[in-house]
Symmetry: C2
Subunit: 163 residues, 2 copies
DNA sequence: CCTGCAAATGTTATAATGTTGCAAACTTTG
DNA sequence: CAAAGTTTGCAACATTATAACATTTGCAGG
């Protein structure tokens, strides 16, 4: 899978989104899952945003485009996308972001810039290994790992306030 | 500081709680912070529970003991306790738990049993180091680390359903 | 003691986030 | 097509968190 541009670096984000959607379609086909219009649209909205979106942000966006959606619509779509590894939920933000390693069954580490709000998903095997080792030390069997790091992204360290 | 018993191992929990409260009083004295009755009571309730407590759980408990509290009362007490490193917020649970390393300025790793709900706070320097290294690789400056691992605790792996 | 300030708490209302339950529409399958 | 299963619409509700402003409390000077 080609490495996508880092979110806080200038890049052709439309291509980013199309690629993600294409990947998602392929993954769903492969898993015999139905990426319905709503689900796909929610995924697209999430990808189009450079920052994690709250469920109610998504709801509002659907509203402005004529789709008269209620909360369950959005949450159900999000559940589906989470289930199939297409998005992640950022617990510390109550928000959702597109998975940059969809289909790879992995545990993401998220670097969240407090200044500009951008989120970078790392695939950090060392971190995962360290967590698993620490858990093993106390005979704990990990199933799901939430790793979210709030701080400053490179761009915001020198010159704060990038959107 | 003496190591406290692991939460899911039988132990004299009252002693646990008194020790935590004594520590808290010492820390607040040292920091010139006022551990008022409400704040102390909230901390005590959190410590008395073996499992993380939601703000509204605390609210209800205060209610049953005649204290007619509203949400802001609890949230303000919790803010104070968070501020002074006496409790942690578990983002994935929207709940709060007593810090087992209060005063040590540290980044806790939380092992959350999905079966019994108990939470174990680890001081896992290896994990922290791994996270910091991964962040450094992309020039991200971490400020706060959220590490929450959901899974099965040792007791619940064999015989599920421990309270 | 009193006075005045700052910190803490009380109180009411409201915002933000997430869920339940059931009915209608759509898809798949035989 | 008919049955069964899945997805969506919809209304109500539950939970978690904050805003705004009034009141009380603790404390330092006068
Ligand atoms: Zn991912
Ligand atoms: Zn930034
Ligand atoms: Zn701690
Ligand atoms: Zn357990």
């Amino acid at each position: 899978m080609p490495e996508r541009a880092l979110p806080y670096r200038p890049h052709n984000h439309e291509a980013c989104v199309s690629q993600a959607l294409a990947d998602a379609r392929a993954i769903c086909r492969q898993q015999n899952a139905r990426l319905t219009p709503i689900r796909e649209r929610v995924l697209e909205l999430i990808w189009q945003s450079h920052k994690p979106l709250g469920a109610y942000d998504i709801l509002a966006m659907l509203g402005t485009e004529g789709h008269n959606a209620a909360p369950p619509t959005v949450y159900r779509a999000l559940d589906f996308l989470l289930q199939h590894g297409l998005v992640h939920r950022i617990a510390s933000l109550n928000a959702f972001t597109g998975c940059t390693h969809a289909g790879e069954h992995h545990r993401g580490t998220f670097l969240i810039c407090r200044e500009c709000g951008n989120v970078l998903e790392l695939d950090a095997p060392d971190v995962t290994r360290a967590v698993e080792a620490a858990a093993a030390d106390v005979a704990f069997r990990p199933e799901e790992i939430t790793m979210e790091v709030a701080g400053r992204c490179p761009r915001c360290q020198g010159e704060p306030g990038h959107a």
